[in-house]
């Protein structure tokens, strides 16, 4: 069957892929693959550890986290940063909610720093960044809306998110932007749930900047009970 719908890019057939394995030992309770451009969600139980594998390297996994029992409590980038006094997410970073409570903790991380400043890409912001000719491109905000509605979440529930494997340095004069990633095929981050959490992930479809190496690749989501 053919379609005239313009679809997003996917990875080149010769791209090296490393599906890796959980970063933290334990019984695997979930093992799913997220195709390029697609979205994903799951409830991760308190104490379980979610490993996200950057299968093809430098693939941004945009991520939002909610208290599974009350989604009005959700991930807060400013609370996460203010409590730790640092703009970057690294091993040990406690991912906090809008109430200041720990939602998850980064317990393993194979790249220097993870981002929570850059936010999600969207059709609308793409017009500012690249021009109106890319309005038809897919974006992470689209994925968050499609995935979020499965859990009763809408635009009001989208806030500044995490971007696993994306590189957003802040330079001395405040210059900030998405630059070439520091990740590689098979690199991982592991986050432990501090309460039952709903995790939304958008496998970023962006093709106008280096957040996906201009080559969108899959992500692997693994949850273990340690």
């Amino acid at each position: 069957m053919t379609s005239s719908v313009p679809v997003g890019a996917t990875f080149a057939p010769d791209s090296p892929l490393d599906w890796s394995e959980p970063l933290v030992p334990g019984e695997v309770v979930l093992d799913e693959r997220v195709a390029p451009n697609a979205s994903w969600s799951a409830v991760v139980r308190k104490g379980h550890v979610l490993t996200i594998v950057d299968v093809g390297g430098n693939q941004s996994g945009d991520c939002l986290i909610y208290n599974a029992a009350d989604t009005e409590e959700r991930y807060s980038a400013p609370d996460t940063l203010a409590w730790q006094g640092n703009a970057y997410v690294r091993t040990g970073t406690v991912l906090r909610s809008n109430l200041g409570n720990p939602l998850m903790t980064v317990v393993g991380n194979e790249i220097d720093r993870q981002d929570t400043i850059g936010g999600a890409c969207s059709k609308e912001s793409n017009t500012l960044r690249y021009g109106h000719h890319v309005m038809f491109h897919h974006g992470c905000r689209e994925n968050f809306l499609s995935e979020g509605q499965k859990h009763g979440l809408g635009l009001r529930d989208l806030v500044s998110n995490l971007n696993w494997f994306m590189n957003v340095p802040v330079e001395e004069d405040g210059a900030l932007g998405i630059v070439d990633g520091m990740s590689a095929p098979g690199k991982r981050v592991a986050v432990r749930a501090e309460m039952d959490v709903l995790v939304l992930v958008s496998n970023c479809p962006q093709m106008n900047n280096p957040c996906n190496d201009f080559n969108p690749t899959p992500l692997r989501m693994l949850v273990v009970e340690p």
Partner: protein, 274 residues
């Protein structure tokens, strides 16, 4: 004497006409602090917000909003919404990422998540602001001050935003990350926040409403304020009628990103007949 209704009415009415350090001025033209160069009759909002207080207002497209920090200790935590569709609201990530700049100053647009400019920063004599740390939560105030009751001496910024939002029919889920003016933070090479604090007394910031806006303001200490005590000064707010950014303004084409953001904003306004 308040023993009868008539006496109680007399007692109540005798309280009128007084002033306090922290109050709205009505009509706005009666403000004792009308900014230099502004016709008092053009004022549409004039107020001094108490330390630990908050305010909120729906303002017309083209309104110029000025925050003054008379003592050097104010910290204006601000969220702006498209008043016509509040689901469109300040998006701090886009506000930093799209202009390629983390530090707010004059010329910086405050962007929504919908690719439009909600407000432009059109004046800034402080330069000490923050778009990373948001405002304080009850959990933060509790661990720092030992108390966080919204009605007490250590209210959290979020507690105030919750109430301000509720007065416009909005729920806590309608509160995105905020920005703050008059208390600055910088990021060092390792990512650590360096406290810059205030630029001193008498500083001001001016915003220009590019769409009809709902403006929420909480005046509480910055979360990283190193002082052990809860120290925040009064915040003055004045607003007056002006014009939204258009093709004749320098900032309309200052960068390609800003240019397209203003185009999107004007496109929305035109379609709605604003």
């Amino acid at each position: 004497m308040t023993d009868t209704v008539l006496n109680a009415r007399e007692d109540a009415r005798a309280r009128g006409g007084q002033t306090s350090e922290w109050m709205p001025y009505l009509p706005a033209s009666s403000s004792p602090y009308c900014p230099d160069g502004v016709e008092p009759s053009a004022l549409t909002w004039a107020e001094t917000v108490a330390p630990g207080g908050y305010t909120h207002k729906v303002v017309a497209r083209g309104t110029r909003i000025r925050f003054d920090d008379p003592t050097g200790d104010a910290c204006a935590h601000v969220i702006v919404y498209n008043a016509l569709e509040p689901v469109e609201r300040l998006n701090v990530a886009d506000t930093l990422k799209i202009p390629w700049q983390a530090y707010l100053d004059a010329g910086h647009p405050l962007l929504s998540g919908d690719g439009r400019v909600l407000a432009s920063i059109v004046g800034d004599t402080s330069g000490h602001h923050d778009a990373f740390c948001g405002t304080t939560t009850e959990a933060w105030c509790l661990q720092k001050y030992g108390d966080a009751a919204p009605e007490g001496p250590f209210p959290a910024g979020r507690s105030l935003f919750v109430k301000a939002a509720a007065k416009h029919g909005l729920a806590p889920r309608d509160l995105p990350p905020s920005v703050s003016f008059f208390q600055g933070v910088r990021v060092d090479a390792d990512g650590a926040f360096e406290w810059r604090g205030s630029a001193g007394e008498g500083k001001s910031v001016e915003l220009l409403a590019e769409l009809p806006l709902l403006v929420l303001v909480a005046n509480v200490p910055h979360p990283l304020d190193p002082r052990a005590d809860y120290v925040v000064g009064p915040l003055r707010v004045h607003a007056w009628r002006s014009k939204p950014t258009g093709p004749d303004d320098d900032r309309f084409q200052v960068t390609p990103e800003a240019h397209r953001a203003y185009l999107n904003t004007i496109d929305y306004a035109e379609a709605r007949g604003l």
